[in-house]
């Protein structure tokens, strides 16, 4: 079985400063990992995905995430926050083709301070 833990329910950063959203996963098999973003009253959008190729994954809007197997982590980062980044972010795990469940974390609400 797989699970995902987002370590912070809320994160606040000032505009122009770095963003770090933390995610730890648990999986019986080599996982696929994703980050999705949901802006207020909007649908879910894929930011990036890890599928066992490069461990550093680049996504849209300047976001990237690093897969660290030894730490079972997949933290999301961005060098410089923008006001438009204010949203809820979800870390998602899928444990390969053997288990088709796709499990979401509880989400991290990112607040951007002017």
């Amino acid at each position: 079985a797989q699970s995902v833990t987002q370590l912070d329910s809320h994160v606040s950063v000032s505009e122009g400063t770095p963003v770090l959203l933390r995610c730890n996963y648990s999986s019986s098999y080599s996982p696929s990992l994703f980050w999705y973003v949901q802006h207020p009253n909007k649908g879910l959008q894929l930011l990036l995905k890890y599928t066992s190729a490069a461990t550093l994954v680049k996504g849209i809007n300047g976001f990237e995430a690093e897969f660290k197997k030894s730490e079972t982590s997949f933290h999301l980062t961005k060098p410089s926050a923008h006001m438009s980044d204010a949203a809820e972010y979800f870390c998602v795990v899928s444990a390969s083709w053997r288990d088709d469940k796709i499990i979401f974390g509880k989400g991290t609400r990112l607040h951007i301070l002017p």
């Binding site: 696929s32 994703f34 999705y36 879910l44 899928s94 083709w97 469940k101 796709i102 499990i103």
Partner: protein, 117 residues
């Protein structure tokens, strides 16, 4: 190209009433999922399907039933609605990868806001 369509978009039920939410996708996707989203809980998987005629339980299946009689449709039923089922429901689909790693993104519907009084 409509993608994933959910109907209805809004619904208010009384406790004990039943209803069916319909999810339809026109992308010929094999996999379909039903999630519920509640504040502070993220999206929780209710049921999912890996192909026509198949269904499986997710994280929170109690109180819900599903059917996948046609590949393009995935129905979510509430037999006797309870206030605890007040939530936003999302349907999602993704293509099959012929046994390979499931690295395809999910395609989401726009959601159904359900209130149970």
């Amino acid at each position: 190209n409509a993608g994933v369509t959910q109907t209805p978009k809004f619904r208010v039920l009384k406790t004990g009433q039943s209803m069916t939410l319909l999810c339809a996708q026109d992308m010929n996707h094999e996999y379909m999922y039903w999630y519920r989203q509640d504040p502070g809980m993220g999206l929780r998987l209710i049921h999912y399907s890996v192909g026509e005629g198949t269904t499986a339980k997710g994280e929170v299946p109690d109180g819900y039933n599903v059917s996948r009689l046609k590949k393009q449709n995935f129905l979510l039923g509430l037999e006797s609605a309870a206030p605890s089922q007040t939530s936003v429901y999302f349907c999602a689909s993704r293509p099959d990868q012929q046994g390979a790693r499931s690295n395809e993104k999910l395609f989401f519907g726009s959601g159904t806001q359900l209130s149970v009084l």
